[in-house]
Amino acid sequence: MRQAISVQNAGVHFSIRRSLFRKDIIPALRDVSFNLYHGDSLGIIGRNGAGKTTLLRLLCGIIRPDSGKIIINNNLKVTMLSLQVGFEPALTGRVNAILSGMLLGYHKCEVIANLDKIIEFAELGDFIDKPVQTYSSGMKARLGFAVALRLSPDVLLIDEVLGVGDAEFRKKSMAVMKKKLLSDQTIVLVSHSAATVKELCNRAVWIEKGRSIMEGNVDEVIGAYENFFAKKSRQAVNR
């Protein structure tokens, strides 16, 4: 298997300046290592505050690590599936789809070529030419999701957005994601839901308090993760 991204002992800390002489240092990631291979679907699991979102930002190049390193093979295009990137509420869905696609790093013509597919997938119908501010939040989310999903980067990063839209749309997105997995799309999925990771991923990394604790086959990692918390909650009940 070819390696796509290798994360080696990555650490990130944010310093937040409170005033002229005071600043707080907040460690978001301490020591995270794992490998991502082509065609992999890697689940990153951890509780709230484990550093999952920071890790995704690191992977798509928004920030750089303070310690350790990230090696991305031959300039792969890594994109975060972010919903509604740069949406302007006063403009139509069509304009926003183009804008959003361009912000995600695609050429205008690429986005326009895919526009029909995007509109179809988002199930917006005539609403596509109405201002986005008239949309329901579900419609907005669907449009954002459709843009991000229809333009396939080399590596797709997903941050728990599967709870988008109504049940039917969710099912449809799940189906598309699964298809992407089978079609050799490389995916990193971040979630605190063991069930989601189990359903969509073949490998997993468990992150706890900014450290990667375990990496491997999805069933092993999720098994350990669930056991750990089962034990913990038993202890809490007993106490």
Partner: protein, 258 residues
């Protein structure tokens, strides 16, 4: 360098985003694009009423004198003030996608430049109505606009790059801009200050630009090419340096604007 396609990609993005912002800005009010004309026209009317009608300051030409200075000066101060917080405002965006951050102030100054075009056309109409006849030196005006645009870009890049580090400057910058406005001879001519200060006065690039605008529009003189060259060259150097600075800080801004 293999970043030529990237540059094209990003300049396309800037164009689309500028168009989108302008459209979105105007869609909030009933008269839409008409405000691009009404707002500056009203502004000119205010100055006409106060200086041309109420105060009857000096000669009749004072209104012309005022407008030919005020309009380019307002372009500068507005554009710089507007792009000041462009990096901070782009926080949501830069947490979602990786973008060269220099794009954010660029979008803002391009947006203002488009609106300024309308104002300048209005100014021409006003000048013609007032009986000023175009002359050969008017051909130098495009050079003036380009020079001023570069000066705005250089100032906007420097200020928007610094503000995320020292957010308190947001309070100082408008004061500074007001000072530039008053020190650039918007309301008075260079002849009103002592001759020994003329050199010092014209070292302020905005003052020098306004002086040249007036020489062209009101006195049918060619601009002082040396000073234009100096401003253009200085601005280009500053823009290049800021481009390097932004490239260095690209991954840093998302952290501090957290």
């Amino acid at each position: 360098m293999n970043n030529l396609p990237a540059i094209r990609q990003y300049s396309d993005l800037i164009l689309v985003k500028v168009a989108a912002n302008l459209r979105s800005e105007t869609s909030g009010n009933y008269l839409g694009y008409l405000w691009w004309i009404f707002e500056p026209a009203l502004r000119m009317l205010v100055y006409y009423l106060v200086f041309g009608f109420l105060l009857r300051r000096g000669t009749d030409d004072y209104v012309l004198f005022l407008l030919t200075g005020l309009i380019p000066c307002i372009w500068f101060t507005r554009s710089v003030a507007g792009s000041m917080i462009s990096i901070i405002q782009g926080k949501g965006l830069m947490m979602q996608v990786h973008l060269p951050k220099i794009i954010l102030p660029t979008i803002r100054i391009c947006q203002d430049a488009v609106k300024e075009t309308v104002v300048i056309i209005l100014l021409f109409i006003f000048l013609l109505l007032y009986g000023v006849s175009p002359s050969l030196p008017w051909f130098a005006l495009p050079v003036m606009f380009v020079t001023e645009f570069l000066l705005i870009a250089a100032s906007a890049y420097i200020i928007s790059a610094v503000i995320p580090f020292f957010p308190d400057l947001r309070i100082i910058v408008p004061v500074g801009l007001q000072m530039i406005m008053f020190c650039s001879g918007t309301f008075y001519s260079i002849d009103m200050i002592p001759a020994q200060y003329h050199r010092l006065f014209l070292m302020n690039p905005v003052a020098s630009l306004l002086h040249n605008y007036r020489n062209i529009l009101l006195y049918n003189q060619w601009p002082d090419w040396n000073s234009l060259l100096f401003i253009t060259a200085g601005s280009l150097v500053a823009i290049y340096v800021m481009w390097l600075v932004f490239r260095r800080l690209d991954h840093f801004y998302p952290r501090i604007t957290l």
